[in-house]
């Protein structure tokens, strides 16, 4: 990462007009712009794949440190090939920009919305449990469903499919594998008919270590010695 350009950068020997200093200032600004470009998707203005992997590395490390899970949402626009083929690439591009803008309205401040590539998007949800990540995904799905792309004339209805998963501190997982695993749920959403959110329901209903009703019953079935 680069440091922001230092506006107070002064000439050490007190020259007011120093061409060298001006050049350094210019270079710094350029470096900043390039850094921004290198992590931004030019079409949508969202973060790009490179940034996604970096950010995921950071958040997964935070999970290892704090024990708070990192959520991930993989998104794929439904029937996007149809949009491109029938309506043309310009409409396709506008659709991608439209989705990005609508979703930015509903993600939380801490969430990191990225364009994964093509018509795929990803959201990193720092310090988020699965149930909450699913709620965010559901919000994104609904937002798009009620926000058709305005065309002149008419409008183009858009929907997307969502896969959601979380990374837990005790898992051995790379960001790439985490993305792949979450992609599996996206695939399930596609296979189940699109425009839906898929995740491991049993994980939301009951984390692997939670004491189950059966276990509780086993305890309460105990005849307490004092009774």
């Amino acid at each position: 990462m680069t440091k922001p350009a230092d506006p107070t950068l002064d000439c050490p020997i007190g020259q007011v007009e120093c061409s060298l200093l001006q050049e350094i200032r210019g270079l710094r600004t350029e470096v900043e712009q390039l850094a921004r470009l290198s992590q931004t998707d030019p079409l949508t203005g969202l973060f790009n794949f490179r940034y996604l992997i970096d950010a995921l590395h950071r958040e997964m490390e935070r999970t290892r440190r704090t024990g708070l899970t990192t959520g991930l949402i993989m998104i794929d626009l439904d029937h996007f090939k149809y949009v491109n083929d029938i309506r043309g690439h310009q409409v396709g591009n506008r659709a991608l920009q439209w989705c990005a803008a609508r979703w930015l309205e509903v993600v939380r401040k801490i969430d990191v919305l990225c364009r994964f590539g093509g018509e795929e998007f990803t959201v990193i949800l720092p310090a988020t449990r699965l149930a909450q990540a699913v709620r965010v995904a559901e919000r994104l799905r609904e937002k798009l469903e009620i926000s058709p792309l305005p065309l002149n004339p008419g409008e183009l209805p858009l929907t997307a499919s969502f896969g959601v998963d979380v990374f837990r501190a005790n898992e051995e997982l790379s960001p790439e594998t985490f993305v792949e695993r979450t992609d599996g749920f996206l695939l399930a959403a596609k296979n189940q008919g699109r425009n839906r959110v898929c995740y491991e329901e049993s994980k939301v209903l009951r984390p692997a270590t939670e004491v189950t009703p059966d276990e509780r019953i086993a305890f309460f079935a105990t005849r307490w010695p004092r009774e």
Binding site: R65, T66, G67, N170, V211, D214, R216, A218, F219, W224
Partner: protein, 251 residues
Amino acid sequence: MMDSRGPVKLCITSGKGGVGKTSLTVNLAYALAANQKRVLIVDGDLGLANVDVLLGLSVDRTIRDVLDGGVDPAQAVAQVSAGVGVLPASSGVPELVNLGPEEQDQLGDLLTAIMVPYDYVLLDTAAGIGPSVLWFNTFTEHNLVITGPDPASLTDAYALIKVLHRDYARDRFHVVVNFVMSEQEAVQIYESLAAVTQRFLDLKPVYLGGIPRDTSVMKAARSQRPFVQQSPAQPAARAVFKLAERIIELA
């Protein structure tokens, strides 16, 4: 005599608070010392320390000073009797409740360094199943789970065992049942816990013993002395001496 494997490390833990972790830790240490063992007590409740309170120690150096202030760990150990050393923790420092990985490594290294001269290390954890509690429990080879005879502390003990077993592959659990009316009651409580761990986790903890409800315990706590010293002939003290013998047999 110390053998080449180094000291025996036990983590004393419960899930639920108020079941007697710290009291057991302190008194077990003295009972082991009465058997000519050298014992180090580590106060693992890094945010709300209590070991010093039970012993009436005036603490000037804690684990926090070692971690943050570069204090020599050996200097932080208070020798409270011939055979018992205490590494106290700080109280009222919420940010110490969850140590990051480097600090856990640092703590692990310093504990490993200072425990060398001891035969036994007893680690008293905080209540709950927070990251530090889990870390201390994976740091030692033995996990001593203490429960009361009530369903709440028993369920919490089970929940803690389940997390440690499922997520951290721990399988050497020892159970102590506190506040019982009789040894028979302790065994019954243990058996109901063991039945559930066997059925659902395929895991059988070892029964270590019960500690009877005994007024001498509170009296000793008020005078900030271990009850095994103040009232060695009372039922609670006798039970803890028996626990110490079983622990010596374990190693």
